[in-house]
């Protein structure tokens, strides 16, 4: 009788042991899944942030073409404004203002067509960081308008964002 009871206690302990092992395995698995989800959400968030920055740059009044100063045209960059913006955006007195807007990123505009000996290629904002986890580069085709001769060129706006 005593021996049978001992066997039953042993069985119960073995079952409990296996049960707890299964619980621990399940918990570890759950933690890994949650960790993976958090990383994926972080990646989504950095991608959304990159889109946000790209849109901010595309609608910067410092760059957009305008009719009679008032009406702004989308998907168009005024070359004369662009050249002034390069100076304004890189000046030390506006550093904080543009950092609030564009954070750690680089913005450049390059002319693709027409082919010229010295095509327009300007880096208007540059604030890279070494402490980043991901770099996302977005190329947006734009029209480059020269109000002096009223001609449109084909250009590309490149926005590189550094995600921490």
């Amino acid at each position: 009788m005593k021996k049978k009871s001992q066997i039953q206690i042993g069985e119960t302990i073995a079952v409990l042991f296996v049960f707890f092992i299964l619980i621990v395995i399940g918990f570890v698995f759950y933690l890994n899944v949650v960790k993976g989800n958090l990383e994926s959400e972080k990646e989504d968030s950095s991608e959304m942030h990159s889109i946000e920055l790209a849109q901010r740059v595309m609608f910067l009044p410092e760059l957009q073409c305008s009719d009679d100063i008032v009406k702004e045209k989308t998907n168009c960059i005024d070359i004369l404004k662009l050249k002034s913006a390069e100076v304004v955006m890189k000046s030390s007195e506006n550093e904080i203002y543009y950092y609030d807007l564009l954070e750690f990123s680089e913005v450049s505009v390059s002319q693709i067509y027409p082919v010229e000996p010295n095509p327009l290629n300007l880096n208007i904002y540059s604030r890279p960081t070494k402490d980043y986890k991901k770099i996302l580069s977005t190329n947006i085709p734009v029209s480059l308008y020269n109000p002096a001769d009223k001609k449109y060129s084909f250009g590309v706006l490149n926005i590189t964002t550094y995600s921490k």
Binding site: F19, A54, S153
Partner: protein
């Protein structure tokens, strides 16, 4: 009896694991940026391309396409007609942008029948596409449809 309890526990854990795998692990990652970039790319490329002033008598691409769809009366400095010049310009621009970025595309400009385009570049997409369609009105004779499909 204990063995039965253990079996029930194992079954419950398996059911839970199946749910976790179904809803968490197999969840497709949302690719917001890819969608945004493709949409911007197709619509901005056409819009900027149509506005571009070409080296053919300082005419823009829209004017060249209009002439190409109608009388073909324009001859550019290099001897090409409006269709040839528009095609060469579009080809050059795409080679420096979409081709460089590794994006496949199909660009077409047509009047009524999409199967008989006046201008065609690239190859038809096999999978998902991000299309953009622009209309260029022609005086008294309908529209030119300018279409760019970026393959995803």
């Amino acid at each position: 009896m204990e063995i039965l309890g253990l079996a029930i526990v194992v079954v419950l854990i398996l059911v839970a694991a199946t749910f976790v795998v179904r809803f968490l692990l197999l969840k497709q990652p949302a690719d917001y940026r890819k969608g945004f970039v493709s949409k911007q790319l197709s619509s901005n490329t056409i819009s900027a391309l149509l506005k571009t002033t070409t080296e053919c008598s300082n005419l823009d691409m829209t004017e060249l396409l209009r002439d190409c769809a109608q009388s073909r009366s324009i001859t550019c400095d290099n001897g090409k007609d409006s269709c040839g010049f528009a095609e060469g310009t579009a080809k050059y621009i795409f080679s420096k942008t979409l081709d460089t970025w590794g994006r496949s595309y199909e660009f077409k400009a047509y009047t009524n029948d999409p199967t008989q385009p006046i201008l065609k570049l690239g190859n038809p997409c096999k999978g998902d596409i991000e299309p953009s369609l622009f209309l260029v009105p022609i005086l008294n004779s309908g529209n030119i449809y300018v279409k760019l499909d970026i393959c995803n």
